[in-house]
């Protein structure tokens, strides 16, 4: 009883935060508030809000369109306008949404951007995306180029490059867009709040080390990362949200409960897996249910690190605000090179005592997908755990073949079970 009531609280809060944000955006025409469009990886939410600008994240809108069953239409529209079938469907979904009146996830109209903040972090396609939007909105655009961590480390040169851009380009653009001056003390305050929420988020994600895991760190995880990865990092609301969430999860741990799935609480945790790659949004529940039906819990996922790898210790730092923003951008998951990504997965397998790794490869995203097969093999080799490979797309329902994915998942879990049975019967024999 109490747990459902508690569960509702954080979820309700998140809902409310989002609703308020979008209605503020919708009213911005009257209130005169300005908006900045930007991306999840390498988002500079604190900085944007420092100027009282409202962040809009087209990626989130795209995934919401997928969940609301709108993406097929939007993608279709973009393709009619000349976009190729081959390219990232987030972009097409967003273009289609814009061309259909720019109605956001809450059904309210989104304002046109006053500034496009092109945080080029971990994905090349971002650049094309905003070039396309710029052509439509004819608004100022500022590029923040975040170099790739090609050698698995952040160098002083990279950090300097980013800070230089922040100082010379990004901050002046934000000042121009808002008509306000940059306030570094406020930024320090914001960063303190960020760090606090980040602590709680990490605690929640790490709770999956428990057996049974109280959370699903992929399907559930995408909800948990919502506020911090989007428009709310550094806000008071976000701090409260994560505090509540942490308490709720804490309670589940104490009661020894598993995660709540679309079908209700999970009865028995049969498989613990790590998942690499973003989810599918058009059949999100169906996809989740396929896991839940098999008694599979995702104990760790890389997707929940695209907006920051906080579990590896990074926190926004009030004492070095711009440098820490630079480090934040550099550290987003898709900005890590493949060897590092393999290390992360192997760490997760160990840390969360996982039975195996599943890679969900999406057609859209080269940033994630190119190289996943090599990662898969590498993790299998290093951990000796069974690995599986699934393919679909983010928001293009044409590429989600339920039968195909179910087939692979079933085969995968049957394989894991068969291996486990064999291992246990061997040890039983050995005991005899």
């Amino acid at each position: 009883m109490s747990t459902t009531a508690l569960k509702d609280r954080s979820q309700e809060r998140q809902k409310q935060m989002i609703a308020e944000h979008f209605s503020r955006l919708a009213r911005s025409g009257e209130t005169g508030e300005k908006s900045v469009y930007t991306f999840v990886p390498g988002n500079l939410t604190e900085l944007v809000r420092n100027f009282d600008l409202l962040p809009v994240l087209p990626e989130i809108n795209a995934l919401q369109s997928g969940m609301r069953g709108k993406s097929r239409e939007y993608i279709g529209l973009a393709e009619k306008l000349g976009h190729s079938e081959d390219v990232c469907t987030y972009v097409k979904c967003d273009v289609g949404m814009m061309k259909s009146g720019n109605v956001g996830p809450t059904g309210e109209r989104l304002p046109s951007p006053d500034l496009l903040l092109l945080s080029y972090t971990g994905c090349f396609t971002f650049m094309k995306w905003f070039e396309l939007l710029r052509q439509e909105y004819k608004c100022p655009t500022v590029m923040l180029h975040v170099p790739y961590q090609a050698d698995g480390q952040v160098t002083a040169s990279m950090r300097k490059y980013i800070v230089d851009q922040l100082v010379k380009k990004v901050i002046p653009s934000l000042e121009r867009a808002s008509g306000k001056k940059f306030d570094i003390d406020k930024l320090r305050e914001q960063m303190r709040a960020s760090a606090q929420a980040e602590d709680d988020l990490v605690w929640v994600l790490k709770s999956a080390r428990n057996k049974p895991s109280p959370i699903d760190a992929y399907f559930g995880g995408v909800y948990y990362i919502g506020p911090i990865f989007s428009a709310f990092r550094g806000t008071h609301d976000a701090v409260l949200y994560y505090k509540e969430l942490r308490e709720e999860v804490q309670e589940r741990v104490e009661l020894g409960l598993g995660p709540v799935t679309p079908e209700g609480p999970m009865e028995k945790e049969k498989f613990r897996v790590v998942v690499e790659g973003p989810p599918n949004w058009t059949s999100f529940r169906e996809f989740w249910k396929m896991f839940a039906d098999e008694g599979a819990v995702v104990v760790a996922s890389t997707y929940t690190k695209v907006g920051g790898t906080y579990d590896y210790g990074f926190r926004h730092d009030p004492d070095h605000p711009l440098e820490s923003l630079a480090d934040y951008c550099l550290g987003c998951y898709t900005n890590l090179n493949l060897p590092t990504r393999v290390d992360v997965l192997c760490d997760y397998m160990r840390e969360y005592s996982a039975d195996g790794l599943l890679v969900h490869s999406v057609k859209s995203c080269n940033s994630f997908s190119a190289g996943q097969l090599v990662m898969l093999g590498e993790v299998e080799r290093r951990t000796g755990k069974p690995v599986g490979f699934l393919e679909s797309d983010l928001v293009d329902p044409r590429y989600f073949s339920a039968a195909n994915i179910k087939n692979r998942l079933e085969s995968y879990f049957q394989m894991v079970a068969q291996k486990r049975d064999a291992a246990s019967s061997h040890s039983a024999e050995a005991a005899r």
Partner: protein, 288 residues
Amino acid sequence: MTELPEVLNVVGIDVGSSTAKVVLMRERERGPAELVDSKLERLRRRDPRKLVEELFEAILADNALRRDDLTYVATTGDGECAAFRTGHFYGMTAHARGALFLDRESRSVIDIGALHTRAVQIDERGKVLGSRMTSQCASGSGQFLENICRYLGITLDEIGPLSLKSTKPEACSSICAVLAETDVINMVSRGIAAPDIIKGIHQSMAGRYVKLLTSLGSSGVVMVTGGLAGDVGLVAAMREGAKESKKPLELRTHAHSASAGAIGAALWGAYRARKLARMGVSLQESLE
């Protein structure tokens, strides 16, 4: 200066991947051209060279003509297999002209054949302004439909009328023709009626075609050509699709839609012949 008579006899030959089409046209310098005769035959794995030769001879014989009576023999498609041709025009060029002949108001053409679909935007002279073809995957073309229907035990002529009977079309999601086949198998086993299956496929094909047209920027009268223009179910689905997309597309077909490529080729042939004559070049020279 080589004088050409007022009336020219020209032949157009369109060799597709499934069907060979041969037409005889009578072209006039001043006045509308006329379609005299047309022959259309499925290749059915026969040697296209031989078949084309046969059809060509047949059309001459039926109209009491000799080869010398023809000013131009134009080919299109895989027309290289007609060794006796005068000249060759590419597929979309030919369909564009053919569509214009079939309906003067055509401003776009969509040619739906056995393997490929192409959309062409044209001006009032038949000039191709832009064109699109379906990508790699063949799931949206005649061959695919044929395979499905063969599986369902439906003959070509029945496809269209059956589709029109559908009340609850079943969406077919697969992009791949092969997987779509399996989808269909699944549908049958779920007890979905044949008309609903066919209509579902028609809708998915129509969706692609409308997309092709709109991405081309078409509006106004669209002539459907190629073999599938004969499929009333598909054309109906395309009309619905066009309406849904809120684009002002008016889809039309013609009894001779399937031969549009051959017709267009023949007419371009006549056009070339006249122009070369005006420039004082004989056809023979121009071929050198």
